[in-house]
């Protein structure tokens, strides 16, 4: 019987430091067939596994055209992530997936796209941005609003220049605070403080939001205030997750499972289960 | 002797709890001052027990000591049962004896192998011994585990067991598991003989002091949980009469009170007094082992306590098997009784010697008075007296050696200091 709980093996091909506690890992499945078969959409996630410690759900941060290589961007916050941080280039890691439902790129075709990310929330959206970059003609205006606590907490900084060059796009960067002595040419304030300068009009737009839950709630509310319908907003939820395949129950929200009905949800579907502001 | 000598140990190692030795010896070899100082903070069990319920006593007093919780539990239970005039079943008495014996095995092995053997073999600890004498260390661990496992099987847990209650047990262990234990006990007999050999062969100081030895004693069995209080100096009393004959006094350098027989002197309790007084009740294999050891009993060298423990180990295994063989495994344990006011006292043999508990209970089953005298409170006074006679025999040795010998004497008693300052 096929066993979805048993991890496959992947090599760590590359490690890029993003911030003081965040790295991006480039993984390559060990098994050639799996490598070929491994297809995903941005927003899906995998379960990374280390024997003796456990598993963690991690979003795929690359875009699907990345041919057999998988990027994951991981923040060191606990047991598994810490153990992953102790691995080196060339080491092996357990991997299962991809799981879940990613961003609705098909529904987004021919529409303007508003991407709002906070902190680590940019990880699952990076694939979307790069996908749009590579398939520019399929989508309308692209607007990215990215906020982090400080400039040092921003991830994928090395790609911003590329993103800025994307045709018909706008990018806003903002931070909560700038530590003394750090140079910062962009905005200071919450992501929503970028709204007044926003180019996207709700009429033919779709919004992809990912970040800490409290930020997403607030952003969603502000989007509704400026005319977005709750079915135009998609958010990627995080919940505790033990199996990734809809069996352990931990990620339930209302009657949905974040792991298989999400993690990307249409806001209208889950609005009422999120703790009120 | 030409110099003044000071012997000081601030925190005696390889005993339970916090005690110290301070000895000043004058130029002419006279002991100016000698203290076995117990500075373990007292916990005032006798005070806070007041106001608690009779059925909590076994659970609470268990926490007097992590090494001999079983002894406190059984003594407390028996004292309460005496107050309430409850007579537990034969099976309960047998299981309690087995429980107590298992605690003796565990504690005696701990004392012999872990706490004292390193001295006798020239190591600082059993950890240090592990490399050179793995077989001995493993034997010690094996025997200790056997004792603990029996306690756990009957009591649910080795440290602070939970099943013994007033009148019986909450659960009777399964026969299957007991049979498995019996098998292990049989196998352990060899280990026990090796232990006797080991402790007959190691060199111990040649020292003798003929103090009064007291033990609980019963003509029909090797007494642990029940019996009369008997001594080498003619004491022969019931447990209810304890306070008529034995009193305690506070000394300034010790948080443990000192005991003595009224109108007489300090006394010794523990494995050596037990073997001395109850030699006839030992199993025949234990008697044979004692005879083969080359030591004669009664014996008044406190260092022979180790050997006494080893001999008891042989007996404990024999008696455990005997008890297992006669256990009916009936579910008879929870008996009904009425709570009424009364006073009850009980003495038992804890691994380190005689233990006394007594309680005053009111009509609602609430404790109104508690009196507890653990073995080390009985012995503390006597240890000091031993040291007084022992130290002068050591004066030709360097200070380090004298210090070590003094510690060894104390460890021969295997004091449980937390108990003594309950």
């Amino acid at each position: 019987m096929e066993n979805d709980y048993s991890p496959n093996i992947a090599f760590i091909r590359d490690i890029t430091q993003e911030t003081s506690n965040t790295n991006t890992y480039t993984l390559e499945p060990y098994d050639k067939i799996m490598k070929k078969k491994f297809s995903y959409t941005p927003g899906q996630f995998i379960m990374l596994s280390i024997f003796g410690i456990g598993e963690a759900a991690i979003s795929i941060s690359s875009d699907p055209s990345n041919n057999g290589f998988i990027n994951t961007t991981i923040r060191n916050v606990g047991n598994v992530t810490n153990a992953i941080f102790r691995l080196k280039k060339g080491d092996l890691i357990g991997i299962r997936g991809p799981y879940g439902i990613g961003w609705p790129l098909d529904k987004a075709e021919n529409r303007d796209i508003l991407i709002i990310a906070g902190g680590m929330g940019l990880a699952p959206l990076r694939g979307v941005i790069n996908h749009i970059k590579n398939n520019r003609d399929k989508y309308g205006h692209l607007e990215i609003i990215y906020g982090a606590r400080t400039p040092g907490d921003m991830i994928f900084t090395y790609e911003y220049d590329d993103w800025k060059k994307i045709m018909d796009s706008t990018i806003h960067l903002t931070v909560d605070a700038v530590p003394y002595g750090i140079k910062w040419d962009y905005r200071i304030g919450l992501v929503t403080s970028c709204f007044p300068g926003m180019k996207t009009h709700p009429r033919n737009a779709i919004a992809f939001v990912c970040g800490p839950e409290i930020m997403m709630r607030y952003v969603a509310k502000c989007l509704e205030n400026i005319g977005f319908n709750d079915d135009q907003i998609y958010i990627s939820l995080e919940r505790r997750m033990k199996c990734g395949i809809g069996k352990c129950g931990h990620c339930q929200i209302g009657q949905k499972y974040v792991c298989k009905d999400g993690p990307v949800f249409q806001y209208s579907d889950i609005k009422k289960f999120i703790r009120p502001l | 002797m030409d110099k003044e000598k000071t012997i000081e140990v601030d925190y005696i190692a390889r005993v339970e709890g916090r005690g110290a030795i301070n000895i000043d010896i004058s130029k002419d070899g006279e002991i100016k001052d000698l203290k076995f100082r117990i500075y373990e903070p007292p916990r005032f069990f006798e005070s806070f027990l007041i106001g608690r319920k009779y059925d909590e006593v076994m659970e609470l007093t268990s926490r007097i000591c992590g090494i001999c919780p079983v002894a406190h539990q059984i003594t407390a239970l028996r004292a309460v049962e005496n107050a309430l005039q409850i007579e537990p079943s034969q099976q309960t008495r047998d299981l309690r004896k087995l429980l107590a014996i298992s605690a003796h095995i565990q504690s005696n092995v701990l004392s012999m192998y872990f706490l004292s053997l390193p001295d006798l073999m020239g190591f600082e600890s059993i950890i240090a011994m592990a490399k050179n004498h793995p077989d001995i260390v493993k034997r010690g661990l094996r025997l200790k585990k056997l004792g603990n496992d029996i306690t756990e099987l009957i009591g649910g847990r080795a440290v602070h067991p939970v099943t013994a209650i007033v009148g019986g047990f909450t659960k009777i262990p399964s026969k299957n598991k007991m049979m498995n234990i019996k098998k292990r006990l049989k196998e352990a007999k060899q280990d026990a003989y090796h232990t006797v050999d080991l402790f007959s062969d190691v060199e111990i100081p040649d020292f003798k002091r003929e103090c009064e030895h007291i033990a609980v004693s019963d003509p029909n069995e090797y007494a642990i949980n029940n019996g009369k209080i008997r001594s080498t100096h003619g004491l022969n009393i019931n447990e209810m009469e304890y306070r008529d004959y034995i009193s305690e006094k506070q000394v300034p350098h010790s948080t443990a009170l000192h005991s003595h027989v009224k109108t007489r002197d300090s006394f010794m309790v523990g494995p050596l007094p037990r073997v001395n007084i109850n030699f006839d009740q030992l199993s025949s294999d234990a008697k044979d082992a004692a005879k083969r050891s080359g030591f004669s009993f009664p014996n008044f060298n406190p260092f022979v306590s180790h050997l006494a423990r080893a001999i008891e180990l042989v007996h404990d295994i024999d008696e455990s098997i005997e008890i297992i063989d006669r256990l009916p495994f009936k579910d008879d344990s929870r008996i009904t009784f009425t709570v009424k006011a009364g006073f009850g006292a009980a003495v038992t043999e804890a691994p380190r010697g005689m233990l006394y508990h007594s309680y005053d209970i009111d009509n609602n089953g609430v404790i109104r008075g508690a009196d507890i005298v653990p073995p080390t409170a009985h012995n503390a006074n006597n240890i000091e007296k031993d040291l007084h006679e022992f130290v002068p025999t050591l004066l030709h040795l360097p200070i380090d050696e004298i210090t070590l010998r003094c510690e060894m004497l104390i460890r021969a008693y295997d004091p449980c200091i937390s108990c003594s300052t309950h």
């Binding site: 598993e55 606990g78 199996c243 129950g249 009422k272 289960f273 703790r275 | -």
Partner: protein, 352 residues
């Protein structure tokens, strides 16, 4: 797969013959004590079986989805080489004496564990188990299966089905596997009269229920976000005087529930750090840690959020049921030290 049904009659002591037959090639499990607090356990001889039980502490889910189990073991051989071994169980098993509510619960778990992704641990056990169900003539004071459409008599989900029709048992076959189990036994055929007797008993049993739930629209009511948080605060923190005490968050309700499946996964490794197992263990949404995430986050920190979640799951669609995750077995009512009664809560939600 449903087969044509055969009907037999079995003397009361005929059960012994059945059990003996089962024991020839199967492990047999069934209730081992009479009364409410029975447990399903292994039966080595017919004497141990107690079909006169009322309910068990843990439901039969413990066989398919045990409180703790190993998923796989791993061992490091050399620096970079390791072995890895799955722990699947496929012993041939017969479960005897399962009540209708519990059979329905198993059916729900079957669906839950095989939809989307298949759970090989549950399914390999399940596929090797034959269920001999037992209809309920005498519902207990806690039961409300009738309201949930899961009892007191069974129409599906069994391999064999027993009904106590007075002096004898009526024995019905449900599947080919069940029928095959009876091969070689000389059994008396039942006739119309016996089937009529069964029908009569069913009608009588239906009237004996003391607890009822009206499930109509309940799920939608719970789904409604404008719904009164006051109810949850009372359940969790104040209690309903005379009815229930505040919730203890002890998790007992979900652990005894035959349709609760939530589990935690963790690794255990030995001191040498060279070999270990990945395990899973039943978990409960009533526990604080259940929704805890890294850096101190928690998605359901308040007791009221947790109890609300449980009831949404039980009366909602999350638990593998279409209409309800509850099958009306009454276990959570009986086990709750705070006397929280799911049927009462349903009434409160409906504003009755």
């Amino acid at each position: 797969m449903k087969q044509s049904t055969d009907f037999f009659l079995l003397e009361k002591n005929g059960i012994d013959i059945l059990v003996k037959k089962f024991l020839e090639e199967h492990k047999v499990f069934g209730p081992i004590k009479p009364g409410h607090d029975s447990t399903f356990d292994e039966i080595k001889s017919p004497k141990e079986l107690h079909l006169d039980y009322i309910s068990t502490v843990l439901p039969p889910k413990k066989f398919f989805h045990p409180p703790t189990e190993n998923l796989f073991s791993f061992e490091l051989i050399e620096n970079t080489e390791w072995t890895y071994k799955e722990t699947l169980h496929d012993e041939k098993t017969v479960l005897i004496g399962v009540h209708p509510c519990d059979v329905h619960a198993i059916l729900r778990l079957d669906r839950f564990f095989s939809e989307d992704f298949r759970d090989p641990y549950y399914l390999s056990r399940r596929e090797n188990t034959i269920i001999v169900a037992l209809n309920c003539i005498e519902p207990s004071e806690y039961c409300f299966c009738e309201s949930m459409g899961t009892g007191p008599f069974l129409e599906m989900g069994y391999d064999l089905l027993l009904t106590d029709i007075g002096k004898k048992y009526l024995l019905e076959t449900g599947t080919y596997d069940g029928k095959k189990l009876l091969d070689g036994l000389k059994l008396e055929k039942a006739d119309k009269k016996d089937l009529y007797e069964k029908k009569k008993l069913l009608e009588q049993a239906k009237k004996k229920f003391k607890r009822h739930v009206n499930t109509d629209g309940l799920s939608a009511l719970l789904d409604d976000d404008t719904h009164d948080w006051d109810i949850w605060t009372k359940l969790a923190e104040n209690g309903y005087p005379g009815k229930s005490f505040p919730c203890l968050s002890c998790g007992s309700c979900s652990l005894v529930c035959p349709t609760c499946y939530c589990y935690d996964v963790y690794d255990v490794i030995d001191l040498s750090l060279k070999k270990g197992v990945r395990k899973r263990e039943l978990d409960s949404c009533q526990l604080l840690e259940y929704a805890e995430v890294a850096l101190g986050g928690n998605f359901r920190r308040d007791r009221r959020e947790r109890i609300r979640h449980w009831l949404m799951c039980k009366f909602g669609m999350a638990a593998g049921g279409d209409k309800s995750g509850c099958v009306g077995c009454g276990r959570c009512i009986r086990i709750c030290p705070s006397k929280i009664d799911i049927t009462e809560v349903a009434r409160i939600i409906r504003g009755e």
